[in-house]
């Protein structure tokens, strides 16, 4: 399969194998891990609707299948098919605790480096996870891991947010990151403002009118069509944010801001939204599996792989 890849992708593959271990980029620490840790119970309470496409995939599995959910979040899909056995993992301890409280078998782990021996699972799912990984290298590593941990003939389902959102007005509430900003974040040890990015303020910011977009909008339409790196706000209501805990620290370090008008602490989650065809190109660059289905559903690009 490698022989038909364009040379640039082959070069990235070579870099990948020599840099198997790399530290977690700061943008993920600050705008994925710490955010989910802070919002876990609230996030979990909003995550109850079972996506029919995921449900259909899980129901298609043979009785007695062992299913690995990498990046299981609040465990919404664990145990969804009562004929299968689920083991979930997530990088967020607070979210994993919520899964465990529901009686699920879970552990705290990193989707880029799964602590599982190879070929044990019958199926693996990665639902809304890869878009939180900030480099193509890491996204590819996560796909490699999903394929590695299932047996030959096993299935993998991956879903990610699409750049092509069904509700275009949603994107206007997101903050686009410039490419340089993203590069700065991957290497830096602390958040710092960038000329093209919004500054995080300790004071409460009067929220814009809902219809008014954030960020630089001098060329809104053309900027957004190519843009794939975003910070997407999560509003944690004051009554849910601990006064003397995570949110207070987040506010004081500038990782969150207050919105008095909405009565919420606002956290920004990092997303790399996938463009059409990107997910397929990503999985095709990994050996060992073939694409058996691909589709767009509810503003997500989805793909099903089979390990060969």
């Amino acid at each position: 399969m490698k022989g038909v890849l364009p040379s640039i992708v082959t070069r990235i593959d070579q870099e990948c194998s020599s840099s198997k271990g790399e530290p977690t980029p700061e943008i993920e620490k600050n705008h994925v891990h710490r955010v989910y840790d802070a919002i876990a119970p609230h996030f979990s309470s909003t995550r109850f609707a079972k996506w029919p496409k995921v449900q259909a995939f899980l129901n298609s599995l043979l009785c007695g299948s062992l299913v690995l959910d990498a990046g299981c979040g609040n465990g919404k899909y664990l145990g969804l098919n009562t004929n299968c056995y689920f083991i979930g993992c997530d990088i967020s301890s607070p979210l994993v605790n919520i899964c465990a409280q529901k009686g699920n078998e879970v552990l705290v782990a990193d989707a880029v480096n799964l602590p599982y021996r190879s070929g044990y699972g019958d199926a693996a799912i990665s639902i809304a996870v890869l878009h939180h990984l900030s480099t193509e290298l890491r996204r590819r590593r996560a796909v490699e891991e999903l394929i590695r941990v299932v047996r030959t003939g096993g299935s993998v389902l991956v879903t990610v947010w699409a750049r092509e959102q069904e509700d275009r007005s949603l994107i206007s509430k997101w903050t686009p990151l410039s490419q340089k900003y993203t590069e700065d974040w991957v290497g830096s040890s602390s958040p710092r403002t960038h000329s093209d990015s919004p500054s995080f303020s300790l004071q409460s910011i009067p929220e814009n009118d809902e219809s008014e977009p954030r960020g630089d909008f001098s060329d809104e339409h053309t900027d957004r069509t190519c843009q794939q790196e975003y910070l997407v706000p999560w509003h944690l209501p004051y009554h849910r944010a601990e006064v003397s805990g995570t949110s207070a620290t987040a506010l004081s370090t500038g990782l969150a801001r207050k919105d008095d008008k909405k009565g919420a602490v606002v956290y920004d989650r990092y997303y790399h939204v996938f463009s059409e065809g990107e997910l397929e190109r990503l999985v095709s660059s990994v050996d060992g599996a073939i694409v058996v289905d691909k589709f767009y559903d509810k503003s997500n690009w989805c793909i099903i792989l089979k390990k060969i």
């Binding site: 007695g64 299948s65 056995y85 994993v96 552990l107 705290v108 990193d110 480096n113 799964l114 044990y120």
Partner: protein
Amino acid sequence: MRLITHNMLSSNIKGVTNGFPLRIEAEKVVEKEVDFNPDFLRNMFSKIEWKALTDASKALGYAELPEETEPSMLESELFLRKLHHALLELHLEEGALVCPETGRKFPVNKGIPNMLLHEDEV
């Protein structure tokens, strides 16, 4: 953490060539009943590293599993019941999983293993 999970877990610390199986240090073990499903057990049987399971089971205080197995055992309800108990009904609530090469301990709290690596282990 059930032993079905432990049988899959491996230390992924940088430089470790074989991080499986992790040695169990058990501080608190509980038993929780689970419905018996022989078909599931038969499906799992081929994936299991048997010695790792028997060692882990002993670490959790259950020494009833045979040391060696053969396919005909899958037709024995007595054997399947023992396998069921060891694989699904024993829970390590508090303790640690120890990397066989480095000795690094991965903590298990409230039944949840934390397998995250430190920056220098990646």
